[in-house]
């Protein structure tokens, strides 16, 4: 899967594309954590417009990044999930810790 990063004002936007399953999760985690440590920003947003599929391994990956960022008092958000991804994010309760935002908020 592809991961791109963009800093916009104080926000780090992380663009995930492809499919996030157990095959991809370890490398995704590593690449995201490297960026989380490298850049300076106040909050982070996962943009999932191009994430075509994810399962509960992806939920675990998001929770892990949330824990890391909340230790630094940084907020994390999610935007633009497709239908399949939305369904799994909603049922897992992830939006309670990483709220879903509309593009325009940033």
């Amino acid at each position: 899967m592809n991961i791109d990063f963009l800093i916009k004002r104080d926000v780090l936007i992380i663009y995930l594309s492809g499919e996030l399953d157990e095959y991809n999760a370890a490398s995704a985690k590593h690449r995201i954590d490297t960026a989380l440590d490298k850049y300076s920003y106040k909050s982070a947003v996962f943009d999932l417009s191009n994430l075509a599929f994810m399962d509960s391994t992806g939920v675990g990956m998001f929770i892990g990044r949330y824990k890391k960022l909340s230790r630094q008092n940084k907020k994390v958000f999610i935007q633009n999930p497709c239908f399949q991804v939305e369904k799994i994010l909603r049922m897992s309760g992830l939006y309670q810790i990483m709220p879903k935002i509309k593009n325009e908020v940033i």
Binding site: D21, Y23, F53, S56, G60, M61, I63, F83, Q84, S92
Partner: protein, 144 residues
Amino acid sequence: MKFNNEATIRFKSKSVNEYFARNAIAAFIMQLNPTIEQMNDVKTAVSEAVTNCKVHAYDSEDDYIEIFCGIEGEKLHIKVSDSGKGIADIEKAMQPFYTTCPEDERSGMGFTVMETFMDSLHVENNTPKGTVVYMTKIFGNSGK
């Protein structure tokens, strides 16, 4: 049971086969004329079951995971089996957020996803060893 159609896929316990498994099953169920949501539900449930075999059942990538798919009218039966470590307390394992691998950032939501996305879920010990996951989904108007 007499199925209208059936297929079995058997593959190595490698992560890259999670993609293969969910897309092979997706190709099989096309004949049921699924909605996009039904298709996604089955792909996700299969991905969860296969990931569990890879992550929890086996230590090596040289073991085998098998998925049987049978169509009985509008009902899809899926059976995912491994011959790995097995589950000591199945009821406990199926609870939301329960995981034996929190250090690997597993969410413990695998069985909950299967249960939510399919119409039924049943987990058993395999013989002589390992785990079998049975799931069904109904593709008519009576399904989820």
